[in-house]
Amino acid sequence: MKLVMVLGAALMLIGFWGLITRRNMIKMILSLAIAETGLQLIMIAVGYINGGTAPILDSAVDKLSAVQQVVDPVPQALVLTAIVIGVAVNALMLTFIIRLYQKKHSLNISDYKDMKW
């Protein structure tokens, strides 16, 4: 699972890199989304137990010995929430971009420097 951990960290770094180097605002949001995905991978990896099964106590998993079999359900619950929240925020951000675009007809973040200092 270390591999997923590394992947998650790499995705986060790629996301941050995109965030601070891409001038296009949609790209910036995309980068953020990628970073979020990376983080979610990390979260799931944290909850993973080698060889564990999904935390669903169906016929495959014995209710009594479940503790030895299933992976940690808590990170999964958290990621579930995180994904939805992430999409919600992304949607709102994109809305901002649409509105901004209507004002200045540019997607370049450095065109929006009216306020500074």
Binding site: L7, I14, K27, I29, S31, A33, A54, P55, L94
Partner: protein, 83 residues
Amino acid sequence: MENILITLLSLIILVAALAAIYLRNMISAILASGLVSLFASILYLLMAAPDVAMTEAAIGAGLSTVIFLLAFKKTRDEEVENG
């Protein structure tokens, strides 16, 4: 076997992520980021997280991509209109 799959997926995800950032064509970039989510959801499945996998596939890969595309369309349409 599983490890090889995970490695493969990881590579694909990384490439897709880099593509999402570096592709000039915005639609391709958005689709690439959708791919990231999609393959991530497969990873989730492999990591015994089917709930998350479903969510990621439906919301992260599906809806999210659509929203990006819609937003992109909105910011291009008007450019044409006003251009």
